[in-house]
């Protein structure tokens, strides 16, 4: 329940490019923030910097105005009053479920009766009250995950850090746990910071998502904004399988839209721009559709079609030199290997991004 601020945080390992490169970020009280990015993008290092397992080479980290790390100084993790759920859960195998949850309370010298209530409460909340005396080895993956969460909740941390907590669960359990995480966050009103490489997880959970790439934050925004108004080509490609295409801006259209020349078609796209600018637009599967008329449409060849349960996903190659492949989701199976495609929507990437 505290405001977290990162200012110009950098962490290098040896001579390699910085793992976390000049990152600034504000996380509001009670916010659920997801750190999303491909493997090796620095999201886990950033989480470990917040936790205190890593010290920044430069920059500053504060929680509720209190400095956690700054020039030549880093508060050790044990003094930061945070909670963390590890990817491997890290339940101590020599302690029972109850002892695992009670550990932090005994360290912090919470009175025995009080601690017992808090442990029972935390286990109750994750639905494992009857497994209190079990050992972690006797639990299923999903149950271990819940114990890890209960251990974290019983500490009443200022911020809950989660490091890819669902990576080791099967798809079905993952769905259930997503719902649970959302419920916990709603009920507890604690700040959650959640590292994941899975955009569906990030979108389903977070108030805001920070997309990371090569140690930098590319964009921090609400999931819908990330999707509709990607700030950079990396975000556009990473989120929702966007295809990048070059466009020539013809001029502004109505509020928030421009007219652009896309493969010779006059197309209305979201975004901003001036006449004669060469820009890049992102097209997502939902932005294109089978053309009703031959008018404003581009001819495509069907390269492949994949049935995806309820809908077909077609991979298309537009009959335009150097055009990238497009994807189209449609209810009907493809008839023939040629079709015409209308472009109904799209987003012109902002200026700075080439």
């Amino acid at each position: 329940m505290a405001r977290l601020t990162l200012r110009g945080v950098t962490r290098r390992f040896g001579t390699a490019p910085a793992a976390v490169d000049n990152v600034s970020l504000e996380v509001a009280e009670r916010e659920f923030l997801a750190l999303l990015g491909p493997s090796g993008c620095g999201k886990t290092t950033l989480l470990r910097l917040i936790a205190g397992f890593e010290a920044p080479d430069s920059g500053e980290i504060t929680i509720a105005g209190e400095t956690m790390a700054g020039p030549g100084f880093s508060l050790p993790p044990e003094d930061r009053h945070l909670g963390m759920v590890f990817q491997s859960y890290a339940l101590w195998p020599h302690m029972t479920v109850e002892e695992n949850v009670a550990f932090a309370l005994s360290i912090r010298r919470v009175p025995k009766a009080d601690a017992a209530t808090r442990v029972a409460e935390a286990l109750e909340r994750v639905g494992l009250a009857e497994r209190a005396k079990s050992r972690p080895a006797q639990l299923s993956g999903g149950q271990r995950q819940r114990v890890a969460l209960a251990r974290c909740l019983a500490m009443r941390p200022r911020i809950v850090l989660l490091d890819e907590p669902l990576a080791n669960l099967d798809a079905h359990l993952r769905e259930t746990m997503l719902t649970e995480f959302r419920r916990f966050h709603r009920e507890l009103g604690t700040t959650f910071i959640y590292v994941t490489h899975d955009q569906a997880e990030a979108m389903a959970l977070a108030d805001r998502v920070a997309v990371m790439n090569a140690g930098r934050i590319e964009q921090v925004a609400a999931p819908e904004t990330l999707w509709r108004e990607s700030a950079s080509p990396m975000v556009a490609r990473f989120i929702g399988a966007g295809t990048l295409v070059p466009v020539d801006i013809l001029g502004p259209a109505d509020e928030g839209h421009v007219m652009a020349n896309l493969w010779g078609l006059r197309t209305r796209l979201r975004g901003h721009g001036h006449h004669a600018e060469q820009r890049t637009a992102v097209l997502r599967p939902k932005d294109v559709a089978l053309a009703a008329t031959d008018g404003d449409a581009v001819a495509c060849r069907v390269i492949d079609s994949v049935y995806q349960g309820g809908a077909w996903r077609l991979i298309l190659r537009p009959d335009v030199p150097n055009a990238p492949l497009l994807t189209l989701d449609t209810d009907r199976p493809p008839g023939g290997d040629q079709l015409r495609l209308a472009i109904n929507d799209g987003w012109v990437l902002p200026e700075a991004a080439a």
Partner: protein, 515 residues
């Protein structure tokens, strides 16, 4: 000194016997590793355990057992009519005898390195060859052996270093056979002339240390070239089916194991059951008086039991206790301090025991500063030398345990607010305790029967079991020596069984026969 004939002969003998013994170790160890890791022989854990028996038994006792087996009085050879005629010298009192016994003893070292190399061999590599149509023999020849070349040579280097530093075997077989080696030469000089020849024997020790350093450098170099390839967590190799050859192979392996591991021990027991040297064992002559003598006889023997027990217990407790923080520093912190500590802990173990003993004498002969007392001639100097000699035995399992431990166990405790001391005590210690116990047990097993450093550092009142067995043997009281040896071996094997029970809770590879 350098040019003396005795020195040159001892050096030549050391190189000769150690080289032959290394060849024997590598042949036995590699064969056993390939058979147990790659085939579907039954009872492989029992096989490996019996194969490793000679390594669990201290070298001087192995040498005694082999001498009993091969000598003119051998009950086993007599029963099949191939014993050497009475009055002739024991055929093992020779370079070949020393090489054979050391070779069997150190075969374990070759076995363990080759076995570790096989564990790092990705299963896919073999399966890919099988899909490609290669026969098992072709796979061994073209895939397994080339991959194993580095571990094989590393194992050989280790066996060689152990052979040149071995004291128990040449002392029991070489001294009566007038086959002098560097370790026995140092012992005899120092024993005969006392500390005034320290300078001279120190020079001999340096030759020995240089030889060991060469071998260890070779091993370190080779270890680097294959350790990088080890893939943790890869699936175990699928054993080759031997089919119709399985039973004959099993019979052959057990026959060899019986000769190498079991028969010498039987001879030792037989030798302990006769009233005097040369008496044939029969229902009429069998006696337990030697055991009574060994257990309830002279005060010096009882003192030795107590001394060895105390020394071994203290060494085990100190090593196991100190191993945890040191291993934590090495594995989790990887600090420069830890690397230095690692070298310090490893060096005395790799250095031949006799060299270590001389080093300890040189350091502790003079009175200690501040308190003005000399440790020389006390139990203290024995304890110091034991600690230096066996420390690494306790450290290795704990390091292995921490290396395979999920790092986030400690991090989770840290996030929970636990400081270093609390984390070590409440999280790391309980998790690493089985490994530390295993290390302590190995220290105890080794220290309880220690001979090499004890032989140079003991004094009246501070006898150890190893020294007493050795002395009884030299005084010609072989039956009593054999009886005492049987008792100490029984203690060692009992501990080995305790160790075996611990296996389930230990990282893979700590209990060697369950590797």
């Amino acid at each position: 000194m350098w040019s003396s004939r005795a020195t040159r002969r001892a050096l030549a003998n050391t190189l000769e016997a150690s080289s032959i013994s290394t060849l024997i170790s590598v042949a036995l160890g590699t064969g056993m590793a390939l058979l147990t890791a790659l085939t579907d022989l039954r009872g492989r854990i029992a096989m490996v355990f019996v194969f490793l028996l000679p390594w669990l038994i201290p070298p001087q006792i192995s040498a005694m057992a082999w001498a009993e087996l091969a000598g003119p009085g051998s009950p086993i050879l007599k029963s099949i009519g191939i014993a050497p005629p009475p009055g002739t010298t024991n055929p093992l009192y020779s370079g070949w005898g020393i090489a054979l016994v050391m070779g069997v003893e150190h075969a374990t070292l070759a076995y363990l390195t080759v076995r570790a190399g096989l564990a790092g061999l990705p299963r896919d590599l073999i399966e890919a060859a099988r899909i490609g149509g290669a026969t098992p023999l072709a796979i061994v020849r073209w895939i397994i052996l080339p991959v194993l070349r580095a571990p094989l040579l590393a194992g050989a280097a280790l066996a060689f270093v152990s052979a040149i530093g071995n004291f128990g075997v040449p002392a029991l077989l070489g001294i009566p056979g007038r086959y002098s080696m560097l370790t026995t030469l140092i012992y005899q000089r120092l024993n005969g002339f006392g500390p005034k020849v320290l300078g001279e024997v120190a020079a001999l020790a340096i030759i020995l240390a240089l030889l060991a350093a060469l071998g260890l450098a070779a091993r370190a170099f080779l270890a680097r070239s294959y350790s990088a390839r080890v893939e943790r967590g890869s699936a175990p190799l699928e054993p080759f089916r031997l089919g119709a050859a399985r039973l004959p192979t099993e019979i052959a392996v057990w026959t060899l194991l019986a000769i190498l591991s079991i028969l010498p021990l039987c001879s030792l027991i037989a030798a302990a059951l006769v009233p005097a040297v040369g008496v044939t064992l029969s229902p009429d002559t069998v006696t337990f008086s030697n055991f009574a003598y060994a257990l309830f006889g002279p005060a010096s023997i009882q003192r030795a039991f107590l001394n060895s027990f105390l020394l071994a217990s203290m060494a085990a407790i100190i090593c196991a206790t100190a191993a945890l923080p040191l291993a934590w520093l090495m594995v989790f912190r990887q600090s420069r301090l830890a690397r230095v500590l690692d070298l310090l802990a490893d060096a005395p173990y790799a250095v031949p025991g006799i060299v270590l003993a001389i080093g300890v004498i040189l350091v502790f002969l003079r009175p200690l500063p501040l308190i003005g007392l000399s440790l020389y001639g006390t139990m203290g100097i024995l304890l110091v030398a034991y600690l230096a000699r066996v420390y690494a035995l306790a450290l290795r399992p704990v390091v292995a345990g921490l290396e395979t431990m999920d790092r986030s166990y400690e991090e989770a405790a840290q996030i929970a607010g636990a400081r270093l001391g609390t984390r070590l005590r409440r999280v790391i210690l309980p998790l690493a305790a089985p490994a530390a116990a295993a290390g302590g047990l190995m220290v105890f097993m080794t220290a309880f029967n220690e001979l090499t450093v004890s032989a140079l550092l003991w004094s009246t009142g501070n006898e150890t079991l190893g020294v007493i067995v050795f002395q009884l043997h030299y005084e010609g009281n072989s039956p009593a020596a054999a009886a005492l040896a049987v008792v100490t071996v029984a203690v060692t094997l009992g501990l080995a069984l305790v160790f075996d029970r611990l296996a389930r809770r230990l990282p893979v590879g700590v209990v060697p026969w369950r590797a």
